[in-house]
Amino acid sequence: MCGIVGLLVKNPKLRPMIGELMMPMLIGMTERGPDSAGLAIFSESAGKDSRKFSLYAADEDFNWQKLGHDFTTHLGSQGKIDVKVNHAVLTTNLEPGTVKVWLKEHYPNVHLLSVGQLMDVYKDTGTPAEVAERYGFGKMSGTHLVGHTRMATESAVTPAHAHPFTAGEDWCLVHNGSLSNPNSLRRMLQHQGIAFETDNDTEAACRFLEWRMREGDDLHTALQKGFEELDGFFTLLMGTKDQLALVRDAFACKPAIVAEHDDYVAIASEYRSLAQLPDVKNAKLFEPMPEELYIWKV
């Protein structure tokens, strides 16, 4: 069991409060996912030629300033570091390939969570309330976000196994459910030269979809192929630079509910996570149909 939440704020006046609006949603999913939590938030752009790299270090006392200093010294390009406990966002105009190689060589224990112009990712073990408090989710601003609370059923409880998973740039996915063929998917993708960081089933789905889109499929086509290839149960919520997208497996084995309001679109595994949203009684509530793709644009 896991909990998923998504929030896309249409009213620009509410965007500085997106974190505050999301907090009761994430906390509401504690019983569905008490062992880890994570958030991907799309906010201020890193700038035209820059990207944000969300980084994670296991050590809470990790010296991020030194990493920033080394980055600038070694690569001759300014890397801006924004630290939140053991997470940091590194903003730079260097290519992802260059940054990844440098990280692997000099800081092999620092985990790269995401790359993108707009997206920051935070994930860790602990209850949703603890994780949210640790990284200040409640104070974040942005246009849209994807959150997850995890109750692990198929792989270890570690920050790397927590959701969201990312692949490519400004693209993330959270999953409620379980896949029965992640190993064959992983083997198939590894033959395509795609590297994996964990043995998690969701990572296999994430890299499968990202691979399809990199091969030229649009999200709709990639998901159609996903329905053919992904065996198991899933409600998947995806975030891109300007949209949220939701699908459920053919048997709708895992729950989801949507609230569409003039000011926002909110998605959660259960209504109890939507109950605290402002004016939710005037939102249009509906349960997404199996094997249908729902997309909401910023």
Partner: protein, 228 residues
């Protein structure tokens, strides 16, 4: 009328009150539950002839295992509303998610809106009346009871059903294994009328078709060619 506010007490406190204290209060015939906010297991295991109004949206298993109580939800509900109900009634003014009325033995479940998948799965004698449509795999392995669907039915209606009978007013996307459409009799029209009246829905029973099990799965047929 007694009023219980789930912003002030927990669902566990509420249910313990409903199970232990309420039956002692012979004068309380009606009570309301405020601020359900999608919480689970509200008013499960009722065993008292009282009217309960839930003012808002419920979570999973609202009115599960109900005996004697008449429960009205003024909103939507999550999975498994009135699951394993024995008697009494549960009415949902909004829509219901998956497995509405699952395994119900008796009583009446009325959903004014749609239900999601697997409505009436393994029903064992409950009556279910749905004002809207039901999702895929509804009535799977339904053993006994009646289900009236005023809207459409999704894929696989009544798959592997036993002695239950369904009445569908709208379109049936597909019937499940062994389910078949049958001719309506006068007794069927009377049944549909009785259930629609109970629910307060105004439709002409003539608009409904009957779906029941062909009973071809009751016995193993050694002569049939098997594909597995």
């Amino acid at each position: 009328m007694e009023s219980l506010d789930l912003h002030k007490i927990s669902v566990r406190d509420l249910n313990q009150y409903l199970h232990k204290e309420l039956p002692k209060k012979k004068d309380v015939k009606k009570l309301e539950i405020l601020n359900p906010d999608g919480m689970h297991s509200i008013a499960v295991g009722m065993d008292a002839p009282v009217d309960i109004d839930i003012k808002g949206h419920g979570g999973y298993y609202v009115g599960g295992m109900n005996k004697h109580a008449n429960i009205t939800v003024h909103g939507n509900v999550g999975w498994g509303v009135a699951e394993n109900m024995m008697s009494g009634s549960v009415r949902v003014k909004g829509v219901a998610s998956s497995a509405a009325g699952a395994s119900g033995h008796g009583g009446t479940l009325i959903v004014e809106g749609d239900t999601s998948l697997r409505c009436g799965i393994s029903m064992k004698g409950i009556d279910i009346v749905v004002g809207g449509s039901v999702g895929n795999f509804s009535g799977f392995m339904a053993q006994a009871g009646r289900m009236v669907i005023c809207g459409d039915a999704g894929d696989g209606l009544g798959d592997s059903m036993y002695e239950a009978v369904f009445y569908v007013r709208g379109k049936i996307k597909s019937l499940g294994a062994d389910a078949q459409e049958e001719k309506m009799t006068d007794a069927d029209y009377a049944t549909v009328k009785e259930l629609l009246d109970r629910a307060g829905f105004k439709h002409d029973p003539k608009e409904f078709k009957r779906v029941a099990g062909a009973k071809q799965l009751y016995n193993w047929n050694a002569d049939a060619s098997q594909e597995y």
